[in-house]
């Protein structure tokens, strides 16, 4: 399509979205991959993660909830006969945990790169090959033009590239069409759309993270000083009692003498340490 005449004609280009118009997400192109979190799906232009392209996830620190946010994505993309690539993750993705969450281990590919240059090269190769559904990378200091290359490669290979970067990068411009920011607030993990195509960013959205830890915490015993405290199932985030040092020291003394319950491991129920113990 060629543009003639006044600059206003430029605005008629179908790829140009004007902030005054209804957001593109109102037209709901439902070809995205559901994030598993309804408020976030609403805020994203594709109704979920884009199927191809580059996205950035900005985290205050690693392990702040990004893994749980990505699990539904990993689970769905694992169904494709393509690689799920991890490049230089901060720690090892723990295979038994992934398998329990239904992530296809046989499609997982773990890469270690010593230099940032190698990481970006590997990411570009993976994205452009068409053989990877998701490529997650933890780069140190990528340049905007390198990110632009990744975006082009991702479109070519119909892959989703995900860059995990520190929150400090939110102030820097980035050619990635989608940027999300994670934060931990008092109420739990929250996510915000910093930038997306065809829409404004969003406010902070609370993620009801279906963490195994959160669910199991309810029914299980929590080690407290004197007694086993059982929390009801429906309590989503009970604030567990803070242990005092003496209590834990006591528990640890007692532990070796407890018997193993074959079904559930250790069931701790303690009585105050008396002279007999």
């Amino acid at each position: 399509m060629t543009i003639h005449g006044s600059p206003l004609n430029l605005l008629r280009h179908p790829a140009v979205w004007r902030a005054g118009e209804a957001p593109l997400s109102a037209q709901r192109r439902q070809d995205g991959i559901a994030t598993g979190f309804a408020p976030l799906d609403q805020a994203l232009p594709d109704g979920g993660w884009p199927v191809s392209g580059l996205a950035e996830l900005l985290c205050p620190h690693w392990g702040c909830g990004e893994a749980e946010l990505l699990l539904p994505l990993l689970r769905q993309l694992g169904a494709q006969q393509r690689w799920l690539v991890w490049i230089n993750p901060p720690w090892l993705p723990f295979a038994p945990a992934l398998a329990r969450q239904g992530v296809a281990l046989e499609h997982t590919l773990l890469l270690r790169c010593e230099r940032d240059k190698d990481l970006l090269w590997a990411m570009e190769q993976c994205l452009g090959s068409g053989s990877c559904s998701l490529v997650q990378g933890w780069p140190a200091r990528p340049q905007p033009q390198q990110l632009r290359r990744l975006q082009l490669a991702a479109q070519k290979g119909h892959s989703l590239g995900l860059l995990l970067r520190p929150s400090a990068c939110a102030q820097q411009p980035s050619p990635a069409p989608l940027r999300l920011e994670l934060a931990r607030h008092a109420a739990g993990v929250q996510v915000r759309v910093v930038k997306c195509r065809g829409n404004w960013g969003s406010d902070w959205l609370a993620l009801q993270v279906p963490v195994a830890a959160g669910q199991e915490r309810g029914g299980d015993a929590v080690v407290s000083g004197q007694v086993a405290v059982a929390y009801p199932e429906q309590a989503a985030f009970p604030a567990p009692p803070v242990l005092n040092a003496d209590a834990v020291a006591n528990v640890l003394q007692v532990l070796p003498r407890l018997k193993m319950d074959s079904a559930s491991g250790w069931n701790v129920s303690l009585t105050p340490p008396g002279p007999g113990l």
Binding site: G63, A67, V209, V223, A249, W266
Partner: protein
Amino acid sequence: MLWACLHFPALALNRVEQTLPAPRALVIEITRRQRRLVWQANAQARAVGIAPGMTIPSAQGLCRDLLCVPRNETAEQDTLQELGNWAYQFTPHIQLPSSLTQNSQLQDGNSLLLEVGHSLRLFHSKENLARQLLEKIPAGFQPCHLAFCDTAFAALLLARAQDGATLDSAAPKTNAPPFYSLHDLPAQSVRWLQLADDKIALLESMGIVTLEQLFALPHDALAKRFGPDFMLYLRRLTGAVPDILPSWQLPDQFRATLEFLHELDTTDQLLFPLRNLLTRLQHYLQARQLATTELHFILTLRNRTLQHWPLGLAAPHYRSEHMLPLLQLKLAQLQLQAPVLALQLAVNRFVELPRGQQDLLTPWQSDNVSRQQLVDKLKARLGDTNVCGLGMVADHRPEKSWAACAPGTGKILADPASGKMQPQSQEQRPFWLLPTPQKLRDKKGLPLHEGELQLLKGPERIDTGWWDDQPVNRDYFVARQPGGRLLWIYRDRVDQQWYLHGIFGE
């Protein structure tokens, strides 16, 4: 039968030019009566006035940096053999003229005879076949003359008759279709028969100039004067005696060598010859419908020692454009022990050609082959150990319950000892695992990590591994950091220390 003859008049030049990084004046020399003579000269040499038959000193007088290479007939035969491997895609009936005739004039070994009558159905028409033949001739084998005729000898002679036309580049190239029939033969001169000079002289003294006159003579009389060999030659030329259908034997193993005229001392210079060798390998593999996973390069060094450079591929490959990028990456890591004089590629092991399937409905085209190609490429640059898949092992020790495995193999749940599937622990496991547990400080027995940790759940005791001398005896807890992050920590029951072993993703 329909025979096609591919004639490569400058085969000896082509063979040497393949090893030259840039075109330059080149002659092939032969020694006659203790004089070194120019036998063939390439276009650059002819441009400065060097002509076949000149002595080497006078040719060197015309061109200062003239490259003179002695003729190597064995190597030319090998080159022709490889061209035969390439031509195998058109027909299995390929013949070298040297096996066809005793006529020494036809034996200089730069023609290939293909019986294509049986392949016409595949290629629909002679014209289409001729076009494809000329289009697919490997790069660097120019000029090439093509002629079609009903008998092998006629095709051979007709292709060779075009010789004079294009070796002298001044003569315009004729665009006549290369299809001839036996009816065209009588018009030819007897010189065209490429007989020994005394026989030509004898024929001409008899007043016989064209083949028409020769064919008109009674056979008995001719046989008496020229011998039975000559008669057999004539009868096979005219189709009176049918040609024997040859069958081409592809060698069992691939071996190709490039000898350089100059020493190569950097790996970058090897790229050009590598591409050449891989193209030849591709022709061979396509002809045999095979692929390979192992390439073995042997570099002949200056001091005549051999440097071996074996390369393994993760998946079978047969196309040079797939193998070349991998080699390029590997080439950067190759350490040359001394300048290289020759490069040989040997491939001894082959596998069946993988048959890929493609999905019509998905926008990406990813099959097993392309996925393995990606792994190959990544391994070539990052190193074998830095590319792995994740697998599980039936072991209760967290650090041993996962394993790096070959990409794509994934889930291994079998117990290494019994081979039986074991249920993994149903306890909660963190998303991230620290490769080695990190020791934590403690305050009055309570663990510290960026603040006091709050124990939420536990302990889960893991006391196992006594059988392989790496026992663990630990109580695992889920703990919460002041920032809200959930950690997987344990207290080692042997040294009574706290360790951080995992991080939950929340």
